[in-house]
C-alpha cells in the first residue's frame, strides 16, 4: 500500500540572483512499512524533499499525495492539521519543548488532538516503554542525554499514530551507542508496528540498517536501491 506518492516534483528557490533547483523532477513512492533513507551530498536536496513530503513546504511543480491527500490542494491551515494527523517528525536537534517533561512532550500532539486524558496517558506510557524511558517520564529535556531526548522525540512523533515518520539526520548529534540504541528502537517499531520511516542522513550507521537507499544528487534521484538488510 502506497503511503507517499511523489510525481515529477520540482522545488526552485529564487532567494539569490541565481535560481537554485533544490528538487529537480523527483518521482518516488513509499510503501507502508518502508525503512528508507535518502542520502546524498550536502545541498543535494534531501532536507527539501523531506520538507515537501511532510507538507512543510510546497513544490514549485509536480504533485505529492500522502494518504490520499494532494498536498498542493490544502490551505496552510489544513496543512498544519494534515501534519498533525498524518506525519511524525524527528529532527536533528531533537526539538523537544524544554518546559515540558518527557511524558508531557510525548503527549503534546495527542493533547492538541484532544485525546481523552486516560487514553493519552496510556499511549504515552506505552511509547516511553517502547523507547526505554519509562523511568525518565518525569524528566525535563535538560535532564536527559542527547540520545534520550531523541528517543523521546521518536515517541512524540509516533504518539498520534501517523502514516509515517520523517527523520531528518536523527543520529547526527548522537554518539555511536546512542545512535545504535535509537536505530534498534526504530527498527523494532518498523518491524512490529509496520511504521514507515523515511530518513535523510549522511550517517553510515543509518544507511547500514536501511532496506531502501535513495541517492539524490543536484535535486535528482540518481539511484533507488532496495537492500537485503533484515530487520
Amino acid at each position: 500500500m502506497k503511503v507517499v506518492e511523489i510525481n515529477d516534483v520540482f522545488k526552485t528557490y529564487h532567494d539569490t540572483a541565481v535560481e537554485v533547483k533544490a528538487v529537480n523532477g523527483v518521482t518516488l513512492s513509499f510503501d507502508k512499512g518502508d525503512f528508507a533513507v535518502i542520502v546524498g551530498p550536502s545541498g543535494s536536496g534531501k532536507t527539501t524533499l523531506l520538507n515537501l513530503i511532510g507538507g512543510l513546504d510546497q513544490p514549485t511543480a509536480g504533485e505529492i499525495i500522502v494518504a490520499g491527500h494532494r498536498l498542493s490542494e490544502l490551505k496552510p491551515s489544513e496543512l498544519i492539521d494534515f501534519r498533525m494527523e498524518h506525519v511524525g517528525f524527528v529532527f536533528q536537534s531533537y526539538n523537544l519543548i524544554p518546559v515540558l517533561t518527557a511524558s508531557e512532550n510525548v503527549g503534546f500532539i495527542m493533547s492538541l488532538q484532544k485525546w481523552p486524558k486516560e487514553k493519552r496517558m496510556a499511549r504515552t506510557g506505552e511509547l516511553l516503554e517502547a523507547v526505554g524511558l519509562s523511568e525518565r517520564h518525569n524528566s525535563r529535556p535538560s535532564q536527559l542525554s542527547g540520545g534520550q531526548q531523541q528517543r523521546v522525540a521518536v515517541a512524540r512523533a509516533l504518539a498520534p499514530r501517523p502514516q509515517f515518520i520523517l527523520a531528518d539526520e536523527p543520529t547526527a548529534n548522537l554518539d555511536t551507542k546512542s545512535a545504535e540504541t535509537l536505530l534498534d528502537i526504530m527498527e523494532k517499531l518498523n518491524r512490529e508496528e509496520e511504521m514507515t520511516f523515511i530518513f535523510s542522513t549522511h550517517d553510515v550507521r543509518v544507511m547500514k540498517r536501511a532496506r531502501r537507499v535513495i541517492t539524490l544528487e543536484d535535486g535528482k534521484v540518481v539511484s533507488d536501491e532496495r537492500t537485503n538488510h533484515n530487520s
Binding site: 513546504d57 498544519i80 492539521d81 498533525m84 536537534s93 518546559v99 503534546f108 500532539i109
Partner: protein, 475 residues
Amino acid sequence: MITSIAWKNVWRNKTRSLTVIAAVTVGVFAGVFAMAAINSSIVQRIDAAVNEELSHIQIDNPGFRGSSDIANVIAEPEKVVSVLEETPGVTHITGRIIVRGIASTSAGSAGVEINGIDVEKEQQIFTLKERLIPGTGSYFGSDTRLNSAFIGEKLAKELYIIRYILTEESFATLDAEGVPAAVTGKLKPLENQRFTTEKKLSEALSGLLSAKEVKLYAMKIKEAAWSYREGSKVILTFLDANGTQTGAAFRISGIFRTNNDFFEAFSVFVPRDELLRLTGMEEGQYHRIIARLEENDLTERASAAVKASLPGLEVMNWKQIQTDLAMIADYVNQIYGIFMVLILAALAFGIVNTMLMAVLERTRELGMLSAIGMNRRRVFAMIMLESIFLSIVGGFAGMAVSAIVIAITNHTGINLVKYAEGLEAFGYSAHLYPTIGADFFIMLTVMIVITGIISAIYPARKALQLNPVEALRGE
C-alpha cells in the same frame, strides 16, 4: 495544555521575567499609591468641608450671600424647615443668623463672620467640636458663661490670644519627647520669654540652634511653647438690625484647629440667642438654614428637590458653594487617568520588549511547534497567555504591595507637616491617610489584563509570521 505551557514559558528565563514583573509591580504600586494619597487628600478635604464648614445644603435669602446684609433674612423659615423635613435623605436641620464684623483684642483685630448658632443642633450636623484644641475651653459646655465665642486658631494668633512661651513645663515636655539635653540647654536663654507670633519664635530658634537642630526639633519646640491664656476675651463689633454699630466682649469658650486657614481665620461662633439679643433681631429669624444628608451621594438629588420646592430662595449644595473643591476632585481624577495611562503604556512597552525577545529566542521551537501541528490560533493564544500572565503576576503583586502599604499608611498617616503652611492655606490636611476603593482595584485589574493583551499582539504576530522551514533551519 497551551495554558500550562504558557505559564511554564513565563518562568523559563526567571531573571528576565522577574525583572519585568518587578517593573510592573513598581509601576502599579506607584500609580495606585499615588492615587490613594491624592484621593485621601481630596476625600479628607471634602469630609472636612462637609462636616466642619458647610454641611450638604444651605438655604439663604437670595440677597444675603452677596451682601451679608443683616436685613436679608429668610422670609418663611417654617416653610423651609417643612420642605427639608419632607426631603428624602435629610437627617438634621439647623438655622443660623450671620453678621459680618470685627474681632479685636488689645493687641490686634481682624474682619470676621459671626455665626449665631443653635449649639445643640449644630453638634448634630457639624463635627467642629471635635476640633477643639485641648485646654482652650469646652466648646459651649455647661460651664460656659454668656457671651462666649468659639474661634479658630488662626484668628486667635492674629488677635495674639495665642503666644509662644518656653516655660518650665515646656522644657519638661521637650525632655519627655526625647529632645536632647544639648538642644534644650541652648534654649535656656529663651525661658519665660513671650513670643507673640510663631515667626518671632522661629527667628529666635534660628539664632540659637544649628540648621539641622531647627529642622529636627523646631516643630516640637513650637508645640511645647504654644500658650493660651484661659478665659481670654475678644471684642466683637458689628451692625445691629437698625444699622447701628454695636458690640460686646466675648469670653473664648474654645479654639478650634482645622486644616483650612481661611475658615479658621474668618469664622466665629456664638450662641444664637446672644447674637439675636445684641443685633435686635427677632426670634424665628434666620439668614441661613442648613441641612445634613445621610450621605454625600444624595447631595445633587436632594438639593435639586429642595430648590424645586423653594423657588424664591437660594438653595446651594456644598459643590456649588465650593466649586473649586468639586472642580479639583474632577481635575485630579483626570490627571490620575492620564497618569495611569502613562504607567500602563510604559509597562506595555516593557512587556512588548520581553515578549519579542522571548519569541525571537524561540524561533526554532516555534517552527517545530508549527511543524508538528500546532496551528496559528494556538501559537497566538500561547504568546498572548504568556504576556497576560506576566502582566497579571506583576499587576497583582503591585496591587498587593499597594494594599499593604495603603493599609499601613492609612493607619499611621503620612506626615507632610513640612508643607503644612501651603496645604492648609488651601484647606488641605498636612496629614494624609491614603485610601482607595475596591472598585478601583477591579478597574485596575481589567486595565492590566487589557494592557497584557495589547502588549502581546505585536510579538504574537511576529510568531505567526515565522515560516516553519526557515525557523527550523536557523536559531
